[in-house]
């Protein structure tokens, strides 16, 4: 899910703790225990922390064996494809994990040369596209000539999208996923990748006992940074800091920080990539339940909206009690949740259903979506 979704989800989770809401109430108000604390901010910060660690720090400490940084003036699709083929062969030959990084091609402040990578079992194709703006809008008439547009390279080992190295946790998640969604789709292919603006992309390639090479998309993402144990470790300084500063209810601070972190990891497990949720005990990235795509606006918006309503619901019932929570409150909590949570979400999904149907009606052909979990979205804000 998106950063904002994790952020507000963490905050919403923290507001379910009555004591947290009370100490967060401004001391100017007649609420028992009111202390003007910023404790809830910790839940938001820690809710965004796993992705912050990944995208702001972890990715810059990677050491890919192959770096593909195409020449901006004349990007050569054959060379890009050949580099990937060399990386697969290297992974197959050595048996070690080989990482390959593809950089974007920036032409000016707002112009980027887009290229796509298509993966087949034993070959890779690269296609250089038009120049696009930072909003990923193509500039018509800027595609390279046909002879410099695309190229294919073959490699000696077969690529596969799912790893066969499955620990008990991964097996459990797979089992749960199959219980919820039914059997995994057979013949799953590696989706194509588009490299265009701002950030680079990286793949891990590792030969497995069956002789095939496992294609691992963004191998540095959702690894050690997405572990409940790391969340515990990172909350220790918060516990200590609050204790040493002599803050009342010091133990709540570390707990709220961990809660924000844990909510993020749990939400991520509903997506496709999952996470290394028990690192360092279990280093392998566990697959997700594949219930939603991280970039799906419906999931993100509905979670954010629900979190927003629950925040209002909680801070009111644990402090002012104007809306619900007391006999003299405006309405019952059931009516509040029905009117402001259930009903609006019902309307939202009904409207979205119609909008999506209309959008699909406009689209033609047999579309094939991009990357597995929507992280191909621009990392711009």
């Amino acid at each position: 899910m998106k950063g904002m979704t994790h952020f507000v989800s963490g905050v919403a989770a923290a507001t379910f703790i009555p004591q947290v809401v009370r100490i967060s109430t401004s001391a100017r108000f007649a609420v028992e225990g009111a202390a003007g604390s910023f404790i809830i901010v910790l839940a938001g910060i820690f809710g965004m922390l796993p992705d912050t660690l990944d995208f702001k720090f972890n990715q810059f400490f990677q050491k890919p064996l192959f770096k593909v940084d195409p020449e901006p003036s004349s990007p050569d699709p054959a060379e890009i494809a050949a580099q990937f083929a060399r990386a697969v062969n290297e992974a197959g030959r050595t048996g070690k994990e080989v990482r390959i990084q593809f950089f974007p091609i920036q032409l000016s402040g707002n112009e980027w040369r887009q290229y796509c990578i298509f993966f087949d079992k034993k070959s890779v194709s690269v296609q250089v596209n038009e120049i696009v703006s930072t909003s990923q809008i193509p500039v018509p008439g800027t595609a390279p000539p046909a002879d410099k547009r695309s190229a294919t390279a073959e490699f000696d080992y077969e690529l596969k999208p799912r790893s066969e190295k499955v620990d008990w946790l991964n097996s459990s998640v797979r089992l749960l996923r199959r219980l919820i969604k039914g059997p995994d789709k057979p013949g799953k292919k590696i989706p194509p990748t588009t490299v265009d603006i701002l950030s680079s992309t990286m793949f891990g390639l590792e030969k497995e006992p069956d002789g095939r090479v496992y294609f691992n998309w963004l191998p540095w993402h959702r690894t050690w940074t997405h572990s409940y144990l790391l969340g515990l470790i990172l909350s220790v300084p918060v516990f200590l800091g609050a204790y040493l500063l002599g803050v009342e209810n010091w133990s709540l601070y570390g707990g709220v920080a961990f809660l924000g972190f844990a909510v993020h990891l749990t939400e991520d497990m509903t997506g496709h990539i999952g996470g290394s949720i028990l690192w360092p005990l279990m280093r392998q990235r566990t697959e997700g339940l594949e219930l939603f795509k991280a970039s799906d606006p419906r999931t993100n918006f509905s979670v954010i909206y629900a979190a927003f309503i629950l925040i209002i619901f909680n801070i009111d019932r644990f402090s002012t009690q104007l809306i619900t929570g007391a006999p003299e409150s405006a309405i019952s909590w059931q009516l509040f949740l029905l009117l402001f949570l259930a009903l609006p979400l019902l309307i939202y999904f009904s409207v979205m259903k119609k909008i999506i149907a209309a959008v699909r009606k406009e689209s033609e052909g047999e579309p094939e979506p991009e990357e597995p979990d929507g992280t191909g979205d621009p990392l711009i804000d």
């Binding site: 998106k2 950063g3 904002m4 952020f7 905050v11 967060s24 109430t25 401004s26 100017r28 108000f29 609420v31 009111a34 003007g36 604390s37 404790i39 901010v41 938001g44 912050t52 995208f55 702001k56 720090f57 810059f60 400490f61 940084d69 950089f103 974007p104 707002n110 796509c116 298509f118 296609q127 909003s135 809008i137 193509p138 046909a146 410099k148 547009r149 695309s150 701002l198 950030s199 970039s295 799906d296 419906r298 993100n300 918006f301 209002i312 801070i315 009111d316 402090s319 104007l322 809306i323 959008v359 406009e362 689209s363 052909g365 047999e366 579309p367 991009e370 990392l379 711009i380 804000d381």
Partner: protein
Amino acid sequence: MLSSYAAAVPDAVTILYVILGTFSGALLCLIPALHIYNVAGIAMLLWATARHLIPYYALAPFFMSLVVSYSFLNTIPMTFLGAADESAGATLLPSLSLVTKGRGQDAALLTGLGTMAGVLVLILLYPFFWYIWPYIARATGPHLHWILGLVIAHYIMSEWPKGAGRGETPFKRFREAWRNCFAGILTFTLAAVFGLIYTAKPIMPVESSFQNIMPVFIGFFAIPSIIQTLISDYRPPRQHISRKINAGWEDFGFGAVPGFVGGMLAAYLPAVTAGIGAMIAGHVTNHRNISRAEFRDPQSPGEIKHLHTPEMYYRQERLFLISGGMIKIMYYVGAFLMLFILTDLTPYGTGRGGLTFILRPVFTAEPGDFPVMLGTILLSGSLAFLLLIVSTKLMVCIVHRLNLKLIYISSLILVFLIIYAVGGGWAGITVSLATTCIGMIPVFYGCRRSHCMAVLLVPIALNMAGYGDAVARFLRLI
């Protein structure tokens, strides 16, 4: 008969002042990069010295129409001249992009239509403002300090590295990618420290205290914008004139949601501007991926597959402008309108923003004012929108012939004269030069300009939590 005639006279006078306020606001927009609250402050000063100029009952409608008109017509300098105030983040980038393609008319009118949609939303949401909003305001009131803390935390954390991370060592990769993030954190920290000092140590003369934030904002936003435009040698090309606007009704549907969310945030939360509101609303409501880029059968020689860019991607520019226009009016006007929501739960209203601050010492809202204000917004908004259409047509014809350097140098001189006259004299000029230094960091390093709003966000959040004095003592400011 006589009494109804007597009652009608103030109404006619009020309407006259609404029209006067609308035209005054429109004229004042001609000064690029000057904020409406600076102008309102000057107008307030004039009114205080000559109270017979505007009768008391017409005071609020006059200032309301001034702000409504400004919300519409500052689109002209923002779009065509690149003049940014602290709310410019809501619309500036797509506007400039369209102007450089000769489509300034689309940019200005789409923003204006968004602002007009904002007027309608403010009026249609009467039941929401009257029956639901007071509960939300009262419930969240004791928690505003941490809500502002959340805004700050998300604002800093959501600025992602813009570099791709090239370099041989982790440090080099980190440095290349983090350029904008470092600059953002530096800007935020310096602005916050400046804000803490400025609120704890009165620098400005007492007689300028009602406008003491003016030189700060001019330094953070107006002067860097002018300098940037002068350095970049910005020259808009000849603009296309068209009879239609490139947008559909559904764009207003999609744009209304972020417009409302961002507008309400900016209207209610202290120190949260339209720019910050737009950024948060963008994160909350982004529906671009409702249809994603798809691979289809090849369409041209050499293509393996055609990457189809969905209409939703193209629509983003329009949505940005429409929602930006809406956020602008909800920020400028909605914040002031909330002053008139007088209910049992909110006996003093929930008004925020510069205009509420400026008017509060001389004006008290009374029951029954709210519908008058809605009427004022509708009348002034309709007039201002017509003025915007006329001004846009005029600007489209002349913008490529304008000597922008001359305009900007004149504006710079005028801005300093205003600071000298009503913004604290030399002390005000010194303050504005100090904040200009901080405000130039985003210009050079490409981070968000609204980091400068830390000047208010941090002191306000700390003061609301009750830690303002403790922090000031810790910094040895008091």
